[in-house]
Amino acid sequence: MTEWIAALLLLAGSLLMLLAALGALRMPDLLMRMHATTKAGALGSGLIMLAVAVYFANAEVWARVLAIIAFIMLTAPVAAHMIGRAGYFVGVPLWGRILRDDLKDRYDPEHHTLDSPEEFAEKRQFEDRRHH
């Protein structure tokens, strides 16, 4: 019985990994690729680790597996956030058919600062008045 559960978890995990790799290959821009790899990749490796724990059914293994899963769940979002942020700041081109980019014109690449929405609205009003 536990072998069946382990086999199912193993297959589900590796299929999710395949999904992540397909997304990384086929998605059109950096942020969408990260959207595929971060979530599906973390869940896939977590499921495979769970399969290992179910297969060995042993306290020592369970402790290690839970530690690995907790570590993956903690670090995957942080790493993805840092890479996505760096990618946006560096000016990676976004997909051509994106409808809105809320950070556009608010980020100043020279001083590495980001205007808050209020500051941005003020600046815009000021520019509008100058134009009239």
Binding site: S14, G41, S45, I48, A51, A79, M82, A86
Partner: protein, 91 residues
Amino acid sequence: MISVAVWLAFAILSLSLLLGIVRLLLGPTLPDRVVALELMASLTVGFIGVHAIASERFAFLDVAMVLALTAFLAAVGFARFLERRGMHSDD
């Protein structure tokens, strides 16, 4: 049953690793390559898990833990490097 699942998991993970390598080579920018490398790191963690089942030795889990740690540190390092350096045409 479990041996079939292990075989299939190895095959699927190898295919995913190949797709990751294609993205790594295609680029087009450095952050894309970093994302591909991170995907390959988590694929390798999965590989080690499957190998632990295949070889019946759970000591491999320590390797998976260390690999996950180094992959995270590499991602953070790459992100900081990118933010400091900015984008150049050598990507």
